[in-house]
């Protein structure tokens, strides 16, 4: 039997013409086409997710860059602001923001009379509520800075309240206002009339980038100023610490380290550190830098230190890769003319590897800039309105950070903060985009094929 098989002529399975596909081949080709479509579909899903994510953030956040302002002419009545009439700064300071609120109400009333706009059932006080609760403070700061203006009538642009702003951006409607204790339909009608009269208008909002955070009732005044500075300080700390330490560690491991157990342990350690969840670095920062070393909470220095430890593995891995890509012939040439090993590395290898190192560092910084979780644990979520001082003292002052500010805003109840948070993300993403673009440019510009 087996002999017959072994010696038998080949079975005539494929005797059919090659020019006609048999049914089985047709089926198999259909399966092939299906499989290919699955792959294409998967890629499309991935890209779709990206597009969806980006459009969702942009459509939610673009509004944060526009803000509604109310233009009013405020008479800085002397009898209210400076009863003694001597412009003494200490006396002026005694008038609290509550003392300024009536001025705005008067200005609002004047504006309504001037434009001839009146809405039935809307008191002057309610009409004044069109402007942000932040406005009296704005007025007070102006007066304290320019006491000579007391008694004059000055034109101010006040932020409109969050609900009014929301109305012009479509977030608040007449129907929702009926149920809302913070805004009434009458106020919205007034707003409509004011928009036509040009008193209320939407404009680009620099305050969003420069102002500090504001409390939960004043979303319209909340800005990213402190967060941007905090993030900048932390990046400064990361750059100053992580770059030299990372490069030094890489040079040792790549150029000097003997191949032994200790080096092995360090290498395994670094690759594992790169994959440790970021929250664990937060625990480390809390336990070591704050509880043990006694550094202040919410300080950029602590955030910077934690992010440095997180970024180090990234920088070390990138630096080692670019040191490795420098061909040994360069080292041999330098050693050949009598340079010491150290001179070879610092004079020849390091400069050639510099673009790669820089690229890796920027990518590490970009990662650090977007990191949130560890910062939550070291107290960066605190509500900070004060701008930190300049470095180096400012590094120890409380500050916020961009991604943490986003988190902070998501925890507030007023829906206007959703827009703020998304807007903050747009700012964050723009920074990341710039950093990555620089990294790609560096790579393109200096990439060398040996």
């Amino acid at each position: 039997m087996t002999d017959v098989i072994a010696d038998g002529a080949p079975a005539g399975r494929h005797k059919g013409s090659l020019l006609a596909q048999d049914t089985r081949t047709k089926k198999r080709n259909a399966a092939e086409a299906r499989f290919k479509i699955y792959g294409l579909f998967a890629i499309c899903l991935g890209l779709l997710a990206l597009v969806w994510l980006v459009t969702s953030i942009i459509s939610n956040g673009a509004g944060a860059f526009q803000q509604t302002f109310v233009t009013l002419d405020v008479t800085l009545a002397e009898e209210r602001l400076d009863k003694n009439g001597n412009r003494d700064p200490d006396d002026l300071r005694k008038v609290s923001t509550f003392g300024y609120a009536p001025l705005i109400a008067e200005a609002m009333e004047a504006k309504m009379t001037e434009t001839g706009i009146a809405v039935e059932g809307l008191s002057a006080k309610d009409a004044a509520a069109l402007v942000s609760k932040e406005s009296p403070a704005q007025l007070r700061n102006f007066v304290l800075a320019n006491p000579d203006q007391i008694g004059e009538t000055v034109t101010f642009e006040f932020l409109a309240g969050g609900r009014i702003d929301g109305y012009l951006k479509g977030r608040v409607s007449m129907e929702s206002a009926v149920r809302d204790s913070n805004v009434s339909p009458e106020q919205l009608m007034l707003t409509d009339a004011f928009v036509e009269a040009g008193v209320v208008e939407k404009r680009f909002n620099w305050l969003f980038l420069t102002a500090p955070d504001a409390s939960g009732q004043r979303p319209e005044a909340a800005g990213l100023g402190v967060a941007i500075i905090g993030s900048f300080y932390m990046m400064l700390v990361v750059l100053v610490l992580a770059l030299p330490i990372g490069v030094a560690a890489s040079i040792y491991l790549e150029e000097f380290a003997p191949k032994n157990r200790v080096t092995d342990i360090i290498e395994v350690n670094i690759s594992n550190l790169a994959a440790v969840p970021s929250i664990v670095f937060g625990i480390l920062g809390l336990a070591i830098f704050i509880n043990f070393a006694g550094l202040p909470q919410s300080a950029p220095i602590v955030g910077g230190l934690v992010l440095t430890l997180m970024t180090l593995p990234t920088i070390i891995i990138a630096t080692r890769a670019s040191l490795k890509s420098v061909p040994p012939s360069i080292r041999e040439a330098a050693l050949g003319v009598g340079a010491s090993k150290m001179q070879t590395v610092f004079h020849h290898v390091l400069p050639l590897a510099a673009p790669g190192i820089l690229t890796g560092t920027i990518i590490g910084l970009a990662q650090a800039l977007g990191e949130t979780a560890p910062l939550l644990l070291i107290g960066m979520v605190a509500f900070v309105r004060e701008f930190p001082d300049g470095p180096p003292e400012g590094l120890f002052d409380p500050a916020s950070a961009l991604p943490v500010q986003v988190f902070n805003w998501t925890q507030r109840s007023d829906p206007a903060f959703v827009e703020r948070a998304s807007g903050a993300i747009i700012v964050l993403l723009i920074f990341l985009l710039i950093m990555n673009a620089v990294a790609i440019m560096l790579r393109r510009r200096f990439e060398r094929r040996w």
Binding site: D7, R13, L18, T25
Partner: protein, 253 residues
Amino acid sequence: MTDVKIAARDVQVYYGDNHAIRDVSVDIKDKTVTAFIGPSGCGKSTFLRCLNRMNDTIDICRVEGDIAIDGEDIYDKRVDPVQLRAKVGMVFQKPNPFPKSIYDNVAYGPKIHGLARNKAELDEIVERALRRGAIWDEVKDRLTEPGTGLSGGQQQRLCIARAVATEPEVLLMDEPCSALDPIATAQIEELIDELKQNYSVVIVTHSMQQAARVSQKTAFFHLGYLVEYGETGHIFTNPEDPRTESYITGRIG
């Protein structure tokens, strides 16, 4: 029964801008071993890979001219390379068993082509293929072990068994012994001699002795041209082209 199995006319192959095969025309006979010889880079492997359209997998490769098997143009638009390759099997330079068991390595082809209706038939096909590959006796007790665990020569015979399992009519071999030691080479050569009873075998080889030992017809390639094609004995004893002579006597190569 020495009719023409494969007929190639004016075949040109380009790799991007590189003109790798020029004006090759050749008739390959059925139930014969045909050897392609020539110095490295002469195009013999490239031409071999045209015969089962393996060059399709290389993006920049372009084939012109006619190649017909049993009178059917294999580069016709209607031809499915999948069906073609079932008819024209191939064995490669380095043994490349799949990371599967010995049994699955051989059963893979019959399974995808639907040659067996049930497990018993499949077993039969696998056994027959392994016997044809002259490796049955060595592996029959360990069919479930991975094919990668065999020795180089065994792996290559396994690959031959894998190729014959789909019942091809033509068997292409691209330097099948170059990665093997002399003993394994001898076994493979013996096997090739047996295979020619059922198949048309085309073998590319670096070794002139091997070509002389196993083939009936020999084609000499040089710089992309088919220089000379004829009976093996004739080519080795009485080459007509001076280039063939130089190669055979070891002056070029």
